[in-house]
Symmetry: C2
């Protein structure tokens, strides 16, 4: 019954189903949706689980064997002929009142890649499509908990740590329906993976501002958290002469401006003070205490180290001049991760041959890919974020760009399947 | 049974009972007390009412006729021989986690004055000892609600306005046990009063820093409230390049420093930003919105006006440079009130003859006396605040200073009783 001609003719290049991609993202947007267009699917919560269940069905429909591992990662697999693996995915959880594309896009697109390759001759590599658990760090947790479990970086202590609501990570994972007793079995045989590629919206303004459709990511930024406590003296705002004040807020204002000014010196790519609490925080009392939460980001770990020293040097004279105490506390460091030269070369070639505008850029946001990228050759593909907006209900990307990104991911997976060791010497330039 | 010699011999100068004064203040401190030494008696609440009940008993013990008026002011009266009146008092309510002396000292000392004068020949002036209701502005209310009612400045609209907890001022007054239906009857026949004198801790560092026991207050500061809303653009702290940011917090930091710098130009005595809220206020998001609550204080209304124009001029370039919106909203103005020259002259003479160190100074804090002082000749006496601290659990004054202040108040009331029109030409100087 088989037509011999059909069996030997080259198959047309696989294409993603763009309409279905956008329709599925829209359907997923309805889970945890708010009236303002925002989406809230906090990791391990009921909306997150409902989103995972929806996507699990699409994975099965694409012919993948579906599993929820002991870390609550949702994984769909199809084996290849060589025992080697490729992986692609992102996350389904969101920040509170976040957007519809952050994470979800990379997962649904990877499912479309699997669907586009279903029914074709066996691939050399197996394909693992992953929705990593708790990328965002719900309820004050560390974040990227699922991808870190895949590389064995979530320990017993972290599993036993309560979140902002007093619930341990272990109990959260169990409540999400995962077999947390098998948490440590979630770790992958990393040596069996030849590449991991994550597709994501940029979450920044570069592609949108330049009218560029595709971004080949060169590196994922590192991030150094910083807390600054400013201790002055609370006092009556009417009765305390200016020269006798130790105003913690005025000192904190100088700290905010000193941190903001760091990137202009070339010391670090971006620096942000995002969180402020003031005590006692009433109009008619000179503030006695301010707590600032800040972060520095750069693609170079050495520059982050140097910037930390610069911050200390900038803050000391502020404390001295104002007679306040400035206590710095250097928090979590997420090390920067360079993309793999060979896998990046494949992404560059795919972008160059896509017929779309493209460029290279670093990722200023953190991604699960940077966790896996320390163990597996890694690259990322970006599409524009309208207005550079992300983590807000206004987060959006043109449907045509969403389809173009998914197709680039498909093309990259196909190209990566052809070789055991991609060639890093490809000279494609944006 | 009367000894004729005793009836004609001059009475010794009246003295306050210093031990009882300090003991009563200590007893009052126990109502609304926290473990850290702080006191919370929010106006109209149960602790405030309990404090009022305690003091009402002391008033009766001093031979005063006690009333709670329709505005929840506690008033103890003893009539004189001429139909003219003197008044003294302060308030019993506190800020949240405030100190034991702010307000309470002036009330308890005035009760001691009345007690020291009990049993002596009839005074020419009647004496009204007052605990004004809600000086502090509990739960977001305007404050000085009791003293403003005495001069007819609390209208139906204010009575119907809900506080931060959604309860109207009318219902608060009723809940405190006052006949709020008779609120408007609380207004005094102001023309019958020849003087009002308020004794208070300084709430600032001047007397304490200079080792001075008594302060003759020259004027009570004016106060202009200011709200500044800073509208920038919230965005991803990792993915948004510095040059594309509209960081509302960094702009707000410049506003804080601009407002703080005003007094150094001589434009205004003090300027304070006391309250800050940041949105969304998370470490990894560039702040999109900041609200600042600030105030300017000066003893000259014209300088307050000029300083307002200066603030607008300082803020405009910050908005321009940073591409943010800066919206100023000028709130409540409490006009400065000069002390009455003649009553101040009496206070100066009392201070000069007290054998204590003394000085003249303006009041940087607002007081009920400034409300009454627009209608009745007014003066104030200050004693030191240790370390200049007030509105905190650490608020304190040496017992000896507390007694010296109460005695000065007593001496001033005695001196004021002697004359219908005090002589402002007294030349006592500190």
């Amino acid at each position: 019954m088989t037509d011999p001609a059909e069996a030997t003719a080259p198959l047309p290049a696989p294409r993603v189903d763009g309409e279905r991609l956008v329709a599925r993202l829209t359907e997923l947007r309805g889970i945890g949706a708010a009236a303002d267009g925002g989406v809230t699917r906090e990791a391990y919560g009921s909306a997150d689980v409902a989103g995972r269940d929806l996507v699990a069905g699409w994975m099965a429909e694409a012919g993948l064997a579906v599993e929820v591992d002991g870390a609550a990662n949702l994984i769909g697999r199809r084996a290849g002929t060589t025992g080697r693996w490729l992986a692609s995915g992102s996350h389904l959880d969101t920040v509170v009142d976040g957007g519809w594309l952050d994470g979800a896009y990379g997962v649904v697109a990877a499912v479309e890649v699997a669907a586009a390759l279903a029914g074709r001759p066996d691939a050399r590599h197996g394909l693992a499509v992953v929705a990593y658990a708790n990328e965002e760090g719900a309820r004050g947790t560390q974040g990227m908990a699922g991808s870190r479990a895949l590389v064995g970086q979530v320990d017993e202590e972290e599993l036993a740590t309560p979140d902002d609501d007093g619930v341990t990570l272990r109990d959260r994972i169990a409540a999400a329906g995962a077999e947390v007793a098998r948490h440590d079995d979630a770790a992958w045989d990393l040596a069996a993976f030849d590449a991991v590629v994550e597709l994501h919206i940029e979450q920044g303004p570069v592609l949108d501002a330049t009218g560029t459709t595709l971004g080949a990511v060169t590196a994922i930024t590192g991030r150094q958290a910083l807390d600054v406590e400013v201790l002055g003296a609370a006092n009556h705002a009417g009765a305390t002469p200016m020269e006798l004040r130790h105003d913690a807020l005025a000192a904190a204002a100088e700290v905010v401006l000193a941190i903001e000014a760091l990137p202009a010196t070339g010391a670090v790519r971006v620096a942000t003070v995002g969180h402020v609490t003031v005590g006692p925080n009433v109009r008619n009392v000179v503030p006695g205490r301010v707590a600032l939460s800040a972060e520095l980001r750069d693609e170079d770990a050495g520059r982050l180290d140097a910037a930390m020293a610069l911050v200390e040097a900038e803050l000391a004279p502020i404390a001295e001049k104002r007679g306040v105490a400035l206590r710095t506390s250097w928090g979590q460091r997420v090390q920067p991760t360079a993309c793999d030269p060979a896998v990046l070369a494949v992404v560059r070639r795919v972008c160059a041959e896509s017929g779309r505008t493209w460029t290279e850029l670093p990722s200023g946001a953190g991604h699960d890919a940077q966790i896996l990228g320390r163990e597996i050759p890694m690259a990322m593909v970006f599409v524009p974020s309208r207005g550079g907006l992300s983590h807000t209900p206004h987060e959006d990307t043109a449907p045509d760009d969403l389809v173009a990104g998914a197709q680039a991911l498909l093309d990259a997976i196909v190209a990566l399947d052809d070789v055991d060791q991609p060639d890093p010497t490809t000279e494609d330039r944006p």
